[in-house]
Amino acid sequence: MKLVAFVSDYRMPVDTLDRLKPEKLGIILVQNGVYHATTKENGNPSSLLNYSADYFVLQEDLETRGYTSSDVDSKVKVISLGDVVDLIFNDYEKTAWL
């Protein structure tokens, strides 16, 4: 299956991403999920960026928290809400809000 997962927390209370093995995985960082794209701890990027997945981050949630595109890890593409809609309809079949 083609699955797009939404990550909205910085400290994930669930480990479901470790289990999901879809043939195609997208991860959209929204709300406090954006810190995974912007914030290193002791110099290390978030381990959430280690999955074999396409990564996206919602621009307005990034800016709400004081960050800009230039703060974002190079693995992660900055997108708009309209892009989120297109990803859901055109690139993936199922969604998971974790």
Binding site: M1, L3, P13, V14, D15, T16, R19, L20, K21, K94, T95, A96, W97, L98
Partner: protein
């Protein structure tokens, strides 16, 4: 005449969040959805407990006695009574040192025919593949 298959995946432990209970009550509502649909159309609900979600299945929950609240256990039994497919991840149970003896397996007292199935995660993954949509709780 179409069927839409939904997978309800419960990842969180009970009570500290309303989500696990709402997963079960929403899944149970698949039994009455026909009033909105055309003849022969169906919505089915499969339920899987994974990760900390397996803690919802612990037997002997006393939520009614202490908080006047129906337990997650009683909702699992209700799901069985309505013949829903309820899966529990074997690896996660084992991680917590739990066995089938520790969890709700049947609802014989209500006359339920089906039982909770403890299965390897691979079978839950297969179920998720087969569903039309997934709802994570």
């Amino acid at each position: 005449m179409a069927t839409t298959k939904l997978g309800f995946v419960v990842q969180r432990p009970p009570y500290k969040s309303e989500n696990p209970k709402l997963a079960l009550t929403h899944a149970i509502s698949s039994q009455s959805v026909e009033i909105y649909l055309e003849d022969g159309d169906l919505v089915t609900a499969d339920i899987a407990f994974v990760g900390d979600g397996v803690l919802n299945c612990k037997k002997d929950q006393k939520a009614m006695e202490h908080y006047g609240l129906s337990s997650t256990e009683s909702h699992i039994k209700m799901s069985l009574l309505l013949d829903l497919n309820v899966l529990v991840c074997k690896e996660d149970l084992e991680r917590f040192g739990m066995t089938e003896n520790d969890i709700v397996i049947d609802a014989e007292e209500f006359g339920a025919d089906v039982e909770v199935k403890v299965v390897p995660y691979d079978e839950i993954a297969k179920m998720m593949e087969e569903m039309n949509h997934l709802l994570f709780f």
